[in-house]
């Protein structure tokens, strides 16, 4: 197979392979609502580059990848592949999946071969090409194994072999390493980059979706940062470091820090907007709350206060807690919403209330949390007010979910209420009975 692929330098021409122009994507939510997941996304992909799409979950980066793979059609905008409009799965584009997506009932060899069948490749050639791809990706000797006999890393190698066997020009990867353990993921990344830089891959470009900032800096020539609600491009960072890249290199760290700052910017803006909305009399209901556990919130504040003396650089904090952006950001955002911490230019700092929380005992913590909850989360305040006003001190779930659905999708309303229920229970400001689906004041305080 290496023979079939031209050396990489030769096609580093910068020719535009894929042109995405003002793409919009929306999904129907209920009879009249639609959920906008991508808004006005434009992007050009050139031959010879690895491009990373970086963003938190819900920023639409996977939706964009599905559009490019031909698995979904945008509601608006144009996608051009090699000069032609893209309709459906196309020649020359192959995809690697986060969950590997192997057929459990086919052997490694059969899993790889099947990609060639629809192309009408004769049986004998299918076999030789598949064996070559298996060889290249380091799966020699596993040809007749079934996926369930393989480790996660080996399974993803099969996923790569299956994508590469069709000799695609563009390889799409949807968080390909996030289901793997740290060591395996690192091995796979370096193997892939090595093959790419040596020109052994029959590819002209790679597009990788990730929420891991270091991974993006390690692999990509260009990182596109996505912002959420609706998904759109927030920033673009060029990475000119030579491969193999070293994570401890100061230039590498600087890039990681820079991307953190850029990614927290929309976070700060969102938090400010939320606070403004919350202070409005009856407004503020439109904030979608992430269902994060109070244990994690308390843990984060304790780490901040203990290990970092109240103020931390977000990348360092993430490293210290070995958390990914997707896990850390919702926590930080929630602390900011509660006024327990503040986020500014890539740093997070405990506020006065935050410090008090950390120093308190269990009951005091609950009280502080409850006060902040009622003061700063409008939907929680509404639930408490309604319960106080009603003689029975009970109110059904629908009462609040319907109100939320006026301003957000049904799923978002459920997630928001689920978060509020968790927090309300912890702070003992109201109770919720799952079976009767009703809020009450039965055992608070």
């Amino acid at each position: 197979m290496p023979a079939a692929a031209a050396p990489r330098e030769a096609h580093k021409t910068g020719e535009v392979l894929l042109d995405i122009d003002k793409v919009r994507q929306a999904y129907p939510r209920g009879p009249s609502n639609t959920l906008l997941v991508l808004d006005g996304v434009s992007l050009k992909l050139k031959s010879g580059e690895i491009v990373g799409l970086l963003g938190r979950s819900g920023s639409g980066k996977s939706s964009l990848l599905r559009i490019i793979a031909g698995l979904a059609r945008p509601v608006d905008g144009k996608v051009t592949w090699r000069g032609r409009p893209l309709v459906g799965p196309s020649d020359g584009i192959a995809m690697v999946f986060q969950s590997f997506a192997l057929f459990p009932w086919l052997t490694v060899l059969e899993n790889v071969e099947i990609g060639l069948e629809p192309l009408g490749v004769p049986a004998a050639e299918r076999r030789t090409r598949s064996l070559e791809a298996i060889d290249l990706i380091g799966l020699d000797g596993f040809e007749n194994a079934y996926p369930k006999e393989l480790s996660g890393g080996m399974r993803q190698r099969v996923g790569f072999a299956r994508a590469l066997v069709v000799h695609p020009e563009l390889l799409l990867m949807d968080e390909p390493f996030s289901a793997l353990d740290v060591l395996t993921a690192e091995t796979l990344r370096t193997d892939l980059i090595e093959l790419w830089t040596e020109g052994k891959l029959p590819l002209r470009s790679i597009l990788i979706v990730t929420h891991n900032i270091e991974e993006a800096v390690l692999m990509c020539d260009r990182v596109i940062i996505f912002a959420a609600n609706p998904g759109r491009i927030a920033a673009e960072v060029k990475i000119d470091l030579k491969h193999p890249r070293n994570r401890d290199d100061p230039a590498f760290r600087a890039l990681v820090d820079d991307i953190y700052v850029r990614m927290t910017k929309p976070l700060e803006a969102a938090a400010r907007a939320a606070q403004q909305a919350a202070s409005a009399a009856h407004g503020g209901m439109g904030i979608i709350l992430p269902d994060v556990s109070t244990n994690d919130l308390a843990g984060l504040m304790e780490t901040l206060s203990g290990d970092f003396d109240g103020k931390a650089d977000l990348p360092e904090l993430a490293d210290d807690l070995s958390m990914e952006v997707d896990e850390l950001f919702p926590l930080a955002e929630t602390l900011q919403l509660f006024g327990l911490a503040e986020i500014a230019s890539g740093d997070i700092r405990l506020t006065e209330s935050g410090r008090r929380f950390v120093e308190s005992d269990v009951d005091q913590r609950k009280r502080i949390f409850g006060e902040q909850l009622l003061a700063r989360v409008p939907i929680a305040a509404l639930i408490r007010r309604v319960l106080d006003e009603r003689p029975s001190h009970r109110a059904p779930y629908r009462r609040f979910s319907e109100e939320l659905e006026d301003v957000m999708s049904e799923d978002a309303a459920d997630e928001t209420l689920s978060a509020v229920i968790t927090w309300g229970r912890y702070a003992e400001v109201f109770a919720y009975d799952e079976q009767s689906q009703a809020f009450s004041l039965e055992n608070p305080e």
Binding site: R66, A69, G70, L71, G88, P89, I93, A94, M95, F97, Q98, S99, F100, A101, L102, F103, P104, W105, L106, T107, E110, I114, G115, E117, P118, N144, Y146, P147, K148, R155, V166, Q435
Partner: protein
């Protein structure tokens, strides 16, 4: 298909000398082929010839009768599979078809199986006038109706839950519909489908036996088989012959289970989409092991594999692409409205016809009376399920928590569930007559005779799967006696119990059409109930009453499912599922 073998290593070139496995498998394959050829020849002969060879109660004939019964089962199973693939796939691919097909399936499932024969007997007889094949088809159809709905539901559910990533990867590789079906959808559905086919066998044995000697009005058919043998033995009050029939049936079901379903279930394990190591031992089958080890057998099966392989790789030579305008119009709401109105009109006119048909003979008072009978049968079903639960839930938990016992009892329970228990009915009648029992009470247990085992083996399965750490926690808190049952054991097995009880309830309604009227020679015992009503009407050929009775029973079954069982099931899976 190539590669469906658990290990391709078996195919490596090497020893070609037959092993002992080869001899066994070879004998098996040739033997089965010979039996099918023989039985098949006997089936296609004019009715006159068939009638000239009257049934005999000599037990020597029983193996032959059993073979005929088994062939009907096999044919019914094959038809069920074909139907399942077509119907299930259509319902999944077309949203509009789905609107009609899935509710229709729900109703079909609630129609008592026996009445399908009543409705279709004349049709099948007229299809091949004067030839026994019509009657054979009617009987095969009975097997089909006992299995197909269940299998189709399972298949459709599987198609709906095909993992998104596998579906995406098939799309992005542009596998095409046909290849995708055989590469992704059918394999993914296989474990559930085969398991369900096996589970609905019990109903199938029951009704194939019942359908071999049926009369609808003036038409009565007797097909050579175990069922008609038993019918004759009942007429002649020959208890010994019934004993022989039970014995032969036991052997036949054992063979069927060992030669067909065990291997299939064990084989279908490889299609499970759990990439992590499965908990518990996977099902084993000695026959499957034979086939997989036997080199000669591999060689014999190879051409078949290659053929199947070619078949699934077939691709339509011309790519059909519909113009965008056509597909947009086709997908528009207006076509939906049109489709819905066609369906509504069709169902109104069908209902109109049905009501008109029933009204030629019957009035509103008949409807009220029939609903009343429905309540009697409902009470019978619920009380007996309650009684069976009182017995089998504790037994099942006890057994399930002792792996050694569970291993032995579980196959027995499944076997008992598959046995056509209508063969035992004569024994019950003799007993009731001897003790002068009240038919309304003492015939009742017959409707649960076969289906109670579903409760037992589901509870055993639940108790076996009960997490050990929870048991140990309960033990460390010294939970004992009633508190242990109420807090630990019963909630733990409840989802499994509900699954068993739902199956048992469906089976009991079905059985009532056979079990509420039972005879022994000239003695006839009859209980009040909807089942007896339908049975009597169909013997008399009184189609109006059959239609009314069946409609009422379907309504009862559907309502019971929706209002009770499904709610309990939702509750169980929401609150009490242990994962």
């Amino acid at each position: 298909m190539a590669g469906r073998q658990p290990s391709l290593a078996i195919l490596r070139p090497g020893r070609l000398v037959p092993s002992i496995w080869d001899v066994v498998v070879f004998g098996l394959v040739i033997g089965v082929l010979a039996m099918i050829a023989f039985g098949g020849h006997e089936t296609v002969q004019p009715l006159a010839v068939a009638n000239r060879r009257p049934l005999s109660l000599d037990p020597v004939n029983l193996p032959y009768y059993a073979l005929r019964t088994t062939l009907r089962m096999l044919l019914g199973l094959i038809f069920s599979f074909i139907f399942t693939f077509g119907y299930g796939a259509l319902a999944q691919k077309s949203r509009r078809a789905e609107m009609v097909l899935i509710p229709a399936l729900d109703i079909l499932q609630s129609v008592p199986v026996m009445s399908f024969a009543t409705f279709t007997l004349a049709f099948f007889l007229n299809l091949f006038p004067g030839n026994v094949i019509g009657a054979e088809l009617a009987s095969v159809f009975e097997v089909f109706t006992a299995q197909a709905w269940n299998m189709t539901f399972s298949f459709y559910q599987s198609l709906k839950t095909v993992p998104r990533d596998l579906s995406d990867v098939s799309d992005s590789m542009r596998l095409g519909g046909w290849r995708r079906f055989w590469t992704l959808e059918a394999p993914f559905a296989a474990p559930g489908l085969i398991w369900n086919a096996m589970m609905s066998m019990s109903g199938a044995w029951f009704f194939v036996v019942a359908s071999e000697a049926i009369s609808v009005g003036k038409t009565s058919i007797t097909l050579p088989g175990v069922g008609s043998y038993v019918a004759l033995a009942i007429l002649q009050k020959n208890l010994g012959a019934i004993g022989w029939a039970i014995l032969v049936m036991l052997v036949v079901i054992l063979i069927y289970d060992q030669l067909l379903f065990r291997p299939l279930v064990a084989w279908s394990e490889k299609f499970r989409v759990e990439l992590s190591a499965a908990s518990g031992l996977p099902p084993q089958s000695w026959l499957l092991n034979f086939i997989q080890r036997a080199r000669l057998a591999q060689t014999i099966f190879k051409p078949l594999q290659i053929l199947a392989d070619r078949a699934v790789r077939l691709r339509s030579p011309v790519a059909v692409s519909t113009p965008r305008v056509v597909s947009e119009v086709w997908a528009s709401r207006w076509v939906d409205y049109l489709w819905i109105s066609v369906i509504v009109l069709a169902s109104i006119s069908a209902a109109w016809f049905g009501i008109g048909f029933v009204r030629t003979e019957l009035g509103p008072s008949d409807v009220v009376a029939t609903v009343g009978l429905g309540f009697i049968t409902l009470a019978r079903v619920l009380i007996l399920i309650g009684l069976a639960s009182l017995i089998w839930v504790p037994v099942g938990i006890w057994v399930g928590l002792r792996p050694k016992w569970a291993e032995r009892v579980q196959p027995v329970a499944q076997f008992l569930a598959a046995f056509p228990n209508n063969l035992f009915f004569p024994v019950a009648v003799v007993t009731i007559v001897y003790f002068h029992g009240l038919p309304d009470i003492w015939l009742s247990p017959l409707i649960i005779l076969g289906t109670q085992w579903y409760i037992l083996f589901n509870v055993i399965a639940g108790a076996t799967a009960f997490p050990n750490d929870l048991l140990e926690a309960a033990a460390s808190f010294k939970l004992k006696g009633w508190a242990w049952w109420r807090k630990v054991a019963l909630p733990g097995i409840f989802p499994y119990y509900i699954t068993g009880a739902i199956t048992a309830s469906g089976g009991a309604w079905n059985a009532s059409t056979v079990a509420e009227v039972v005879s022994w020679g000239k003695t006839r015992l009859e209980a009040h109930g909807l089942g007896a009503y339908i049975y009597n009407a169909s013997v008399k050929g009184d189609m109006q009453r059959v239609v009314l009775g069946v409609a009422v029973m379907s309504a009862f079954v559907v309502l019971l499912n929706r209002l009770v069982w499904r709610r309990l099931f939702d509750f169980a899976s929401r609150r009490l599922a242990l994962n």
